[in-house]
């Protein structure tokens, strides 16, 4: 291949082309959009090809009929299949299972698309995809709000006082490694099924992250800045509000981004607690009826919203903290 050939697959910035040392110049490595598009296309192609072989029976498509519960025959079949999962062999046999659904069944891209359209207009059990997603998002935001409201002051207090640090350190270190899922049974007993326990679970998922981010953020303050502020007549409160807090913003933002990701990921588990609406609930209920297209659309929605949230946070961060990583 010619060195100068301006291929679509090579970086477009001319000045970098003049570098002779390229392998090992890790800081200059960036994601090439064309390659990203290619890999995405390959994924879809693989998806399409694979589902050509292992089809997804029409009976199980949500799109066949929006109100799946009214479809008596299909409902019974699905119920039988669900029962087969744990029933004695004389009640169910393997053939019943495979008759309806190959174990490798997966909705093809067109199946998924029609499932998406159905979920978008008619919804699952009369609740549209947008409502499911909005409900889930609202839960995450409430969880994050309380997580920040509790975590940031506690973390900052830990960063500012040795005594408070001593008090909270053991608690934080002890609770932080607990996976939110492991604490879920307790939360269900304490707070009941549904919204209350799922939002509290998301608080649990985010609060430790925010505490640690705030503690780290406070620590990044340069003593000279604090001293300069006092010399300029600032009170303790003003030093906290005008120096330590803004100085900690980059770390706080990193914390919020990480906590948002974790919360969003924990959401499916949180919604297992049986809230009527929400992406996680939708997925788990649809699974019971083998509505795999609903499952796939729900999962993809979780992924896409996760990516969008992170992108949004990056934009907000660039706006709010332009000094990050400079000077």
């Amino acid at each position: 291949m010619s060195e100068n050939g301006s291929s679509l697959f090579r970086r477009a910035t001319g000045q970098n082309d003049r570098k002779t040392v390229t392998f090992g110049d890790a800081a200059a490595v960036q994601s090439l959009p064309l390659w990203s598009a290619l890999s995405l296309a390959a994924l879809v192609l693989f998806w399409w090809a694979a589902t050509r072989t292992w089809g997804f029976p029409a009976e199980f498509r949500a799109a066949t009929k929006a109100d799946f519960a009214a479809n008596g025959e299909r409902f019974t079949q699905a119920k039988m299949l669900v029962q087969c999962n744990g029933a004695p062999a004389d009640v169910c046999d393997e053939s019943m299972y495979t008759q309806w659904l190959s174990p490798r069944s997966f909705p093809s891209p067109p199946d998924t698309w029609s499932g998406f359209k159905m979920l978008w207009t008619d919804g699952y059990k009369g609740v549209t995809l947008l409502t499911h997603a909005g409900t889930s998002l609202w839960r995450v935001l409430r969880g994050m709000f309380w997580g920040c409201l509790i975590g940031i002051p506690v973390g900052m207090a830990m960063g500012l006082s040795s005594r408070l640090r001593g008090i909270f350190d053991t608690i934080v270190e002890l609770f932080r490694p607990i996976p939110p899922l492991a604490i879920l049974p307790l939360f269900i007993i304490w707070f009941g099924l549904g919204d209350p326990s799922s939002v509290k679970l998301l608080i649990f998922a985010s609060v430790w992250i925010m505490i640690i981010a705030a503690r780290a953020g406070v620590r990044t303050v340069n003593l000279s800045k604090v001293r300069a502020a006092y010399s300029l007549g600032a009170s303790k409160w003003q030093v906290l509000r005008r120096v330590i807090l803004p100085n900690a913003l980059p770390e706080l933002f990193t914390g919020i981004r990480v906590a948002l990701g974790v919360s969003w990921g924990t959401l499916v588990a949180a919604e297992l607690t049986g809230t009527g609406v929400g992406l996680g609930t939708m997925i788990f209920q649809a699974k019971n009826f083998f509505l795999l297209d609903v499952v796939v659309v729900g999962t993809a929605t979780i992924a896409i919203i996760g990516v969008l949230m992170d992108m949004l946070m990056r934009i907000v961060e660039a706006r709010l903290i332009p000094w990050r990583g400079k000077g």
Binding site: K225, A228, S231, L232, G233, P246, L249, W323, G327
Partner: protein
């Protein structure tokens, strides 16, 4: 204007799991208002420690500092500080940095704005008000630090190696700026430096300090800062009187350094 009185300052740092460090021993001097004092000495002789005590950031283990009639027990706006670097607030722009002091005091907004503009003009940064700190060169950042410190109209300005991180050319320009400011405002300035030439050129009075324990070894009265306002700086620095003094102080410091090396070796 207020005189600065330093009486019998002793400073011993307690070191966890180690012997305490005697950073300053019986440091005493009077500095009349409006003088420009430069502090010079080998590394570790207690210059920063002394400056931090004057600023009120550290309480000495012995002795007192008074400004006018007030005993210094903590930081205060009548004593402004210019740090070597890293003390500007990155989350604020230039204007907001300079306005920080007045804002903390609840000063009138319109008045502050006018004052800030004035100060930016004084330090040669007119039109840079809405720039971010990271958009400025090191020299410009130190100009902002100076302006920020002046905004509260302090009696004393303390500077710890304010030009230490700058290149030679920028440094010379900034020396001129400091001299001009000193002449125009008549403020008392205490400036720490590692450069003998800078200490001589800026100092209207100069202490050469010695280490272990830190103390004032020599106290010079110097003519250069006042002439420096009229004469061309390069010519002044090349004059025989200036060079003589420079050599004298350099050999003094070299002697101390050799003594330190002897201690360690």
């Amino acid at each position: 204007m207020k005189d600065l009185k330093v009486a019998g300052i002793d400073m011993v740092y307690a070191v966890p799991k180690g012997s305490p460090v005697h950073a300053l021993s019986d440091v005493s001097f009077d500095l009349e208002a409006g003088r420009l004092l430069t502090l010079l000495g080998p590394s570790g002789c207690g210059k920063t420690t002394l400056l931090n005590i004057l600023a009120g950031f550290l309480a000495p283990t012995g002795g007192t500092v008074t400004l006018g009639d007030d005993l210094i027990t903590g930081p205060g706006q009548e004593r402004g500080m210019v740090f070597q670097q890293g003390a500007l607030f990155e989350w604020l722009n230039v204007e907001q940095n300079v306005a920080f002091g007045p804002k903390m005091n609840g000063a009138d907004k319109a008045e502050t704005k006018e004052k800030v503009e004035d100060l930016l003009r004084t330090v040669g940064l007119q039109g840079f008000g809405d720039k971010r700190i990271y958009e400025l060169s090191g020299g410009m950042q130190q100009r902002v630090a100076l302006a920020r410190c002046l905004a509260n109209d302090p009696d004393v300005i303390l500077m710890d190696e304010p030009l230490g991180a700058l290149d030679a050319l920028t440094r010379e320009k900034m020396q001129g700026l400091i001299l001009d400011l000193w002449k125009d405002t008549g403020k008392t300035i205490v400036l720490v430096t590692h450069s003998v030439e800078e200490a001589l050129y800026l100092g209207d009075r100069l202490f050469v300090m010695a280490p272990r324990p830190g103390r004032i070894e020599r106290d010079y009265e110097l003519p250069f800062a006042r002439t420096g306002l009229e004469v061309e700086p390069r010519a002044l620095k090349a004059s025989p009187e200036f060079i003589d003094k420079r050599e004298e102080i350099l050999s003094l410091i070299w002697e101390m350094e050799e003594e330190i090396m002897g201690h360690e070796g």
